[in-house]
């Protein structure tokens, strides 16, 4: 029996959260080792498991995979969440890359000075409402299907749900002009594996707080 995938990262969302979501969506149990000190991080670097000296690191199928997108693409393909052909895969990639850009903004915002916080949040919400959410609302409207690509649950749906929930944490009414996204959110949240991941006690991580930011700064020394 194959060992469970193992994740190495800080005890928070950061760049690992999308990976946790995708594994959870696929119904795959995984283990986590949390980096909390500089010493642990340096040991991991010296061990030679980090190709470019960076985390996220996922040990899966005998490979030590780093680079978030490489890990996500592998998981999507392995668990049949990557479309049925190249044309579907490229659409999933485009949508996933777009939502990653949006979530990346949120991730970076946690590390900016506190006095810039409100301005950053406003910018993120504006981008969500003018650049990203309209695209997905339109896609759902045009084909009238339950999922973004190929009438089948894919990585793109998982990412979009993750992004929607993250933006809602910043502004609860952000979906007010997007009825199809509201329905999408409810629908995807009710998929059994997603429902389970959204419950308290799952491996889903909370939003970054000052404690998390301090920890990451300490471990990565910046």
């Amino acid at each position: 029996m194959a060992a469970k995938p193992k994740l190495w990262y800080f005890p928070g969302r950061g760049r690992m959260e999308s990976i946790r979501w995708l594994l959870a969506a696929a119904g795959v149990e995984f283990e986590e080792e949390f980096l909390e000190t500089r010493e642990q991080y340096e040991k991991l670097q010296k061990d030679g498991r980090l190709l470019f000296g960076q985390v996220p690191l996922v040990e899966i199928d005998g490979m030590m995979l780093t680079q978030t997108r490489a890990i996500l693409s592998y998981l999507a393909a392995k668990y049949n969440l990557y479309g049925k052909d190249l044309k579907e895969t490229v659409r999933i990639n485009m949508y996933a890359d777009g939502t990653q850009d949006l979530m990346g903004m949120i991730m970076m915002a946690a590390f900016k000075p506190p006095e810039e916080k409100e301005e950053n949040i406003a910018l993120i919400v504006t981008k969500a409402k003018t650049r990203y959410f309209p695209v997905f609302e339109k896609i759902l409207k045009e084909h009238g299907e339950d999922f973004l690509v190929g009438n089948k649950f894919s990585w793109a749906d998982v990412q979009l749900l993750e992004a929607i929930l993250m933006v809602e944490e910043l502004n609860a009414s952000v979906l007010s002009d997007f009825p199809l996204l509201k329905a999408f959110k409810a629908r995807i949240s009710n998929i059994p594996t997603m429902k389970k991941f959204l419950q308290p006690g799952s491996q889903r991580k909370p939003p970054a707080d000052s404690h998390y930011v301090d920890l990451v700064r300490r471990v990565l020394q910046f």
Binding site: F52, L65, S73, N93, Y132
Partner: protein
């Protein structure tokens, strides 16, 4: 007969150059729609041609593809530069992402003011010498093959050789202690389609100059 792929971007390397390299290496002829002004950019946005209102955008096989990674992965898969299975693809992705991180540092360099240039160049040197070049030298040493993955040309080789050229533009001596990377660069450069692309008069773009940087600031509003 399908039309040639059509690339929409300004007349500069920036984020489109890896796409030009990859198409060229695959022996695929392509056309370019050059953005010369903010008006050109706004026309594309208002056309609805840009999924997230951004370029690069590539018209290929009846699609308007956005997001550089999605574009590159589509081209690689279509032209068999993406390994033979998902495990090889994971390695190719991991290597490509690392190379993209180094390329990002280099392409951003001109944006920084003169008094920050030295520090940024030092950082590029340091990362090249201590993080990226050693990683790839080690990969090549570990299997002794002519290409990074699966004993076969892949997008990872093309992207790496491209960035080696950029590093050499900053300082040729940075390649000194990496004989296998030197050999890879020579080998890839001698592949007929790459050799052709490296010659004057090809669609390869020169390093950015002050005039083009100013143009980029206007077109992309940065």
């Amino acid at each position: 007969m399908a039309g040639k792929p059509r690339l929409h971007y300004m007349n500069a390397r920036l984020r489109m150059e890896p796409v030009r390299w990859l198409l060229a290496a695959a022996g695929v002829e392509f056309e370019e729609q050059i953005l010369e002004s903010r008006e050109d950019m706004e026309k594309l946005i208002n056309d609805g041609s840009l999924m997230f209102q951004q370029v690069p955008m590539v018209e290929i096989d009846g699609m308007k593809l956005a997001q550089t990674r999605a574009i590159l992965n589509y081209i690689a898969a279509k032209y068999n530069l993406y390994g033979k299975d998902i495990k090889e693809r994971a390695l190719i992705d991991m290597y490509s992402e690392g190379i993209a991180d180094l390329n990002e540092m280099i392409l951003r360099l001109p944006i920084f003011p003169p008094d920050e240039q030295d520090a940024k160049i030092t950082q590029i040197r340091e990362r090249t010498t201590n993080r990226y070049f050693p990683a790839f030298e080690k990969v090549l040493k570990s299997h002794g093959q002519h290409y990074l993955v699966g004993n076969r040309l892949s997008k990872a080789d093309i992207h790496l050789v491209e960035v080696i050229y950029y590093v050499e533009e900053i300082d040729p001596s940075l390649l000194t202690n990496f004989p296998l990377l030197k050999a890879l660069k020579t080998r890839i450069s001698n592949l007929p389609p790459v050799k052709k692309f490296l010659q004057p008069g090809s669609q390869r773009k020169p390093p950015i100059d002050a005039k083009t940087l100013e143009e980029a600031r206007k077109i992309f509003k940065i």
